[in-house]
Amino acid sequence: MAGGDELKVLGVWTSPYVIRVRVALNLKSLPYEYVEENLGSKSALLLASNPVHKTVPVLLHGARPVNESQVILQYIDEVYASTGIPSLLPTDPHERAAARFWAAYVDDKIGSAWQGMLFTCTTEEERAEAVARAVAALETLEGAFEECSKGKAFFGGDAIGFVDVVLGGYLGWFGAVDKMIGRRLIDPARTPLLARWEERFRAAEAAEGVVPDDADKMLEFLPTILAWINAPKSK
């Protein structure tokens, strides 16, 4: 335990925000301890590490917490920047700005639609409306993929990058929603580039064991999350 360099992630296995951090750590071959949190009964460590938002993921580097998934991703890029360890963000400033832009877009449009289709909708109509918003955003991202990838496998080019892990975090839930609604959110007919990207991302070593591929298991877990969300707020 010397040096205080150990990495620890506090998370929930279904969270897109947690999954992206874990994929990033795997990409960089960085060992870390993973702690599954029960958000219905938050650990003292979680509450002490993220007093403002009280949520996951939290990255602990030694004793120091880093919060907000995209902040965490940039932190590990910067701390572990060295030859041999792939970087998530590109080096060119304009390309970095573009990657940050699309990552923000994903969390804004896909993120809010994802919440709508699973956690906040009260009718099937509302769910369908959220699904439509996600599909529209994915169509925009199809264009972004074409621009960013420049014919290569990922938004980041040859290697998985920032936008890839940010969007990739949602794939577990996409599989579950696909099962719920009986069709694919990332529809190969509408968004063929993203459909192929999804296959490549899921097949990546860094995604193994971290990006959920069992839709039933996720749907079984959904009531637990809804109970967390709908519980009366504790003081």
Binding site: E68, E78, R96, F101, T140
Partner: protein
């Protein structure tokens, strides 16, 4: 940010790229005369913006901190968005947009980080230590997520929803107060930094929040009030912001437009 602009006594503005920041209007706050902005820039920077936008102001502050010359273009959002704006930001169709060598960068905090990275020989807004950078990004994100939306609800809503917005605003100010602590700036050892630039443009909005929310920032968050005063005197900030009265009037115009009250 805003999809429409006030009909009021605003600058008549065209989107002419030759027109510098509209200092010709006499009702402008006199300290708003960015001397850099009117030069055709050797750094090849153009900013598409809207005078009262706190998001645009973050970029103006960053450009001033870095002494970077740029061309300021006022987007007359009421007249409809210019072709250049729509082409530069087709996804969101919003200001601010920074054009560098004609290439667009969108989203205010992304633009500020871009300026740090594209102009590494200028004073940086983010600190150099990765952990300090992570803290700065976290708090800028907090300001981004919370302040404008909550503030808007304060002046848009009535009754219980407004009371809720008021409670949230007090919570936000107290949280930021705790983070600021006894530091001169949010940037701490680094000095005026990323979070300061992110939050400073909201300081002229405090008076409006106070009026609509019936509270005083100086009572709820005295350190934030003191910081607001300090930061307001900083040259880059003073020349980028408009007076609280101007902001209050602008909100009045928006309310009329939305048919509120």
């Amino acid at each position: 940010m805003l999809s429409c602009s006030p009909t009021s006594t605003h600058h008549p503005h065209s989107t002419s790229s030759q027109h510098s920041h509209p200092q010709t209007q006499t009702d402008r706050h006199p300290s708003n005369a960015p001397t850099m902005a009117s030069e055709k820039s050797s750094s090849d920077l153009t900013l598409l913006d809207f005078w009262v936008s706190p998001f645009g102001q973050r970029v103006r502050i960053a450009l001033a901190e870095k002494s970077l010359p740029y061309e300021y273009v006022e987007e007359d959002l009421l007249a409809g968005k210019s072709e250049r704006l729509l082409q530069s930001n087709p996804v969101h169709k919003k200001i601010p947009v920074l054009l560098h060598g004609g290439k667009p960068v969108n989203e205010s905090l992304i633009i500020v980080q871009y300026l740090d990275e594209a102009f590494p020989d200028t004073p940086s807004l983010l600190p150099s230590d990765p952990y300090a950078r992570a803290q700065a990004r976290f708090w800028a994100d907090y300001v981004d997520k919370k302040v404008y939306d909550c503030g808007s609800r304060l002046w848009k809503l009535k009754g219980e929803p407004q009371a809720q917005a008021r409670a949230e605003m007090l919570e936000i100010l107290k949280t930021l107060e705790t983070e600021l602590g006894d530091k001169e700036f949010f940037g701490g050892e680094h000095g005026f930094g990323f979070v300061d630039a992110a939050f400073a443009p909201f300081t002229p909005w405090f008076m409006s929040y106070e009026k609509y929310g019936e509270f005083k920032v100086a009572e709820v968050a005295p350190k934030i009030a003191a910081w607001a005063e300090r930061v307001g005197k900083r040259e880059s900030v003073a020349k980028s912001l408009y007076s609280p009265d101007k902001v209050y009037d602008f909100i009045g115009v928006l309310k009329k437009m939305y048919g509120i009250e």
